[in-house]
Point group: C2
Chain length 334, copies 2
Amino acid sequence: MGMTIRDIAREAGVSTATVSRALRGLPNVDPVTREKVRQVAERLDYVVSPAASRLASGRAGSIAVITPYIARWYFARVLSGIEGVLQASDLDLLLSSIGDPQEVGHVPPHRKLRRRVDGFLVISLPTETEGVSEIFDLEQPVVLIDTDHDGCSSIGIDDIAGARMAVQHLINLGHERIGLISGRPRPTPFRPEDNRYAGYRDALQDAGLPVLTDLEACGHFTIEGGERAMTTILARPNPPTAVFAMSDEMAFGALRSLRAHGLEPGRDVSVVGFDGHEMSEHLDLTTVVQPVEEIGARAARMLINAVDDPNRETKHDVLPLDMVVRGSTALRRR
Amino acid sequence: MGMTIRDIAREAGVSTATVSRALRGLPNVDPVTREKVRQVAERLDYVVSPAASRLASGRAGSIAVITPYIARWYFARVLSGIEGVLQASDLDLLLSSIGDPQEVGHVPPHRKLRRRVDGFLVISLPTETEGVSEIFDLEQPVVLIDTDHDGCSSIGIDDIAGARMAVQHLINLGHERIGLISGRPRPTPFRPEDNRYAGYRDALQDAGLPVLTDLEACGHFTIEGGERAMTTILARPNPPTAVFAMSDEMAFGALRSLRAHGLEPGRDVSVVGFDGHEMSEHLDLTTVVQPVEEIGARAARMLINAVDDPNRETKHDVLPLDMVVRGSTALRRR
DNA sequence: CGCGTTGCTGCAAGCGTTTACGCCCACAGA
DNA sequence: TCTGTGGGCGTAAACGCTTGCAGCAACGCG
């Protein structure tokens, strides 16, 4: 309990400096001494006081993950990937959802986390977000997921290509009126949304098809939202024979809406989603699969590198996508 | 940046002790002085060094959440509830999945987190788990979710009653052969599993129905597992007309299996799940709803209280359950 | 008027590490 | 033998706070 480095030093017959060096694996320690110190520490069940260590060394020993949501599928999985990597490192993972700026007592994360972490991992948040933009002024390593910014490493997928792939698939099946279930009304500060829209639009244009805004509706990335969006779209005059949903969860809602209208996904209206949610397999949804945990894991590794070596150059990883074709998409019936 | 409490003290014309007291809202500070110090700190954009503060005060200023999974629905939501409460407190949230003890380099959390946190929040882990049991020896506050232990506060639901409610519902619908999709083979060290089993069994027995082990199968709490379990059960001679699944995710798999066998959930075989997963609404699944985020939030509040006042007596909250009846359950056809 | 309170503040001793610096010694080269 | 070199180690000064203790007015009361 009240065990300090001095106790170990005394017990091992060396100075505290040597204990510190030995335990941290620094050079300039006789292997014999090091081993002895290690054994004493082990025997007495000693662990360094992180507070003291951090104060003396100036390193915070932790990194913060800033995320808009924790419970949502995508975020939970990214977080899981991050944690897996950090677990094996000597950095603590501080979790901070950015919360609702409206709420009383809301403290923007950059203020709360000042001097507390060695780096930031930001999931899917626009760089202009209040509380995020200020992070860049902190002069600490930042890794951005799903967006990018000058001087920060970043990681993500090629949303344009992904959306293109999805829409091209529908075009290949003979569809010409292809609807869109997007997240929020454009333009949004969210990179993936804008890019998925661009991919959707480009694919249509490349195929010489018109981009019809009355085939679009917002689903807010939720199941209910997707359901409402699909319902809205179906109510339009001359509805589409296929839709691309920017997320699987919205696609799930769309499937439900279709069934509620007596339409069979695939046979009557094709639906393709985006994410690779486990549930998509069970709902027989065609979807663009992104390697979500891998995104988190890589981001964590990048940040660890940046923390260890602050002037390492920044990287910008783009991970490959995959499309899984299932029953929710089929040849257009004539 | 290199701003210390001394700079604030000098600028405000007081001692560092007064700055410390003023900023932390301790009594015995003249309101005028306090306000002045606050303003200086604000103006200079000063935040205390957590490392120094922790070293001096002996408080770690954080709590650890120990969980077996991060990405799974239940755990992600509990975590979200925890984070929501902690956000508003002055405690950091250290996330630590317990990881796979098999893996190389695996460090059991109790060792890694020694001296690093003021308390532990353990989600759904048996108290005998390696790395969890040792936490109790640390003499720090612990709050257990989904199980309990001497001297710890705990929170959870009444799994027995929940399972009973589910099965009773099936019995009321006229079902007499009621199958079970459980998690792992019994006995497990996981409290909720055992209790849900007990509730299942009790409900049957109370109704004078036999408990037939060949109507049971394990689904390992995954969709795929649930699907396999249902398939197994259907293959038995004289299959059940209804099943109770210990989690919604397994129930989703069961629904899928039924459809794959040309059976219509509700009409041919009734299915009831457990959890209140959002998706259950969309799959029209009858389920026992537990207040998952609330569980996390309450657990966090309990822990904060325990940290603030170590000899506060322990509490054991049991949160109420609710059942939502949907299309997956219906009167038994004769 | 003396004395105990009470409210506010400052002094200074920690808290348990890390690390710059310097010492000592063994060893090699001259 | 002398000197330079470098590995191994110890000394002690930070690191930036918190807090026990004491001091000092101002005040009320007998």
